[in-house]
């Protein structure tokens, strides 16, 4: 799968967040890293069809994404999106959270939807959590259910916006393990993350986004060993300063 960004710009109330972001990426797994406020979430939400850029174009496998209501509605159904936190419907149990998109966005029959959901719960060791509400689940369980829900519809692409940054380290590991497993199954994904270990070892490519643009991108094996730009070198030094 190829994703092409052509001069994408976005401004929020006079604040320039993305300026002429361009690039073409063959996706298997990409990590987006960069300083806070650099526009990572904004870019991911544009790719996910949740936000419309002020100008520029987005192409997936050569097809231009139209930012019109009807087009986006269909587009979003085929793309999974996982939020930093609170990504489950608060008034529904874990299983109901899974069933809702399958039945109401995909038009799957109830029996089939229950079957698909149960299988995923089993696979990721969430069966005991089935009938719990989000407020009764740990942050890690919530995130794993959110990921399971996003992959249940077999999306073309899974987008994750800092899925572990609100979690304790032990929960972070359980979520990242699940992701690694899905990636090995061939799921294509873009993840915004502060977990440099995961970006380096589990993602093929890395995009470094700072100061409203893509400063550097490339294979993760290269980029962490030999950062080319001063910005990325400074960023990595800062982040790795306290690493044990």
């Amino acid at each position: 799968m190829n994703i092409e960004l052509i001069n994408i710009s976005k401004t929020f109330q006079d604040e320039l967040v993305l300026k002429d972001v361009s690039g073409s990426f063959d996706i298997h797994s990409i990590a987006i890293i960069g300083p806070s406020g650099g526009g990572k979430s904004t870019l991911l939400r544009i790719i996910g069809g949740l936000l419309t850029p002020d100008s520029g174009a987005l192409k997936i496998d050569g097809e231009t994404i139209e930012f019109s209501k009807r087009y986006l509605h269909n587009y979003r159904r085929n793309i999974g999106f996982v939020f930093q936190s609170k990504g489950l419907f608060e008034h529904l149990t874990a299983i109901e959270n899974m069933l809702l998109p399958l039945i109401h966005a995909f038009g799957m029959g109830k029996t089939e939807a229950v079957e698909v959901s149960s299988k995923l719960f089993e696979r990721f060791g969430l069966t005991d959590e089935k009938n719990k509400y989000p407020f009764q689940l740990s942050g890690g369980q919530q995130q794993r259910i959110a990921i399971a829900r996003a992959v249940a519809v077999k999306p073309w692409l899974l987008l994750l916006d800092e899925p572990t940054s609100a979690l304790d380290p032990e929960y972070t590991a359980e979520v990242l393990n699940m992701l690694g497993e899905l990636q090995n199954d061939g799921l294509k994904s873009i993840i915004v993350t502060h977990e440099m270990g995961f970006a380096k070892n589990a993602c093929e490519k890395v995009i470094f986004l700072a100061q409203n643009r893509i400063v550097e991108s490339g294979n993760s094996s290269q980029i962490f060993k030999h950062p080319q730009t001063e910005e990325l070198q400074a960023f990595l030094n800062k982040i790795l300063e306290w690493k044990v």
Partner: protein
Amino acid sequence: MKQTLSKEPSRSKKIASAIFVAIILIGFLWFSVNAINLKLDFSTLYQYRYRLWEGFWMTVTISVASLIVSLALGSLSALGQNSRILVISYFCKAYVQIIRGTPLLVQIYFFYYIIGTAWGVNNRYLAGVLILSIFEGAYISEIIRGGLASIDRQQYEVAKSIGLTPAKTLQLVTFPILMARILPALAGQFASIIKDSSLLSVIAVIELTQTVQEISADNFRMFENYLFVGVLYFILTFSVSLLSGGLERRYNHEYRVNQYQ
């Protein structure tokens, strides 16, 4: 969970406490009645039973009709207040402010004698329902607006991301969350409608209060009449609160969980 369970008082304790409270309340009433040497005789009301029954039903009918109309008005005005079209937003805000800022009695006279006469609404029952609905709708509007504002924006973002249409989002996300949050307040407002309908007696709508006023002019037994009618109103409002308790449990996530466990 376990802690709250162990703190739950035992059944016998609950019953004993309830009886104690009832004795205090009845004792207080009985003492007061005796202190002014009042001899209450409710049997005189028996001959008016048909009129009381009709008044009672009129109150129920007017309240239910007003609840339906005021829910519609309240929903529209809650949505209207958030409208991007300024004229609509201002109109809804003015409606809520003015209605909540003036007494119902003043509104009844104003709408019935001035607006109603001007627009040819002569049926006092219809007028009564409309006036009451306009009044209660302003309060319901605020309840709904507050409920909508309390829903986390992220829930809509999630709905969008999984590809729900706006209509489905309203049906499957907004409505159930909103209901769980505002049902207690809505039930309270319905109890208010029932009580406030008594003021329609000033335009001679023959509901419960008007009926009792007419009976009082006939039998001069003010105390019995009003005490009795007070009990009737309480039966109505208490039923509403029982009913809403049941509905609340239906919409309350936490209760549904305990059923599964």
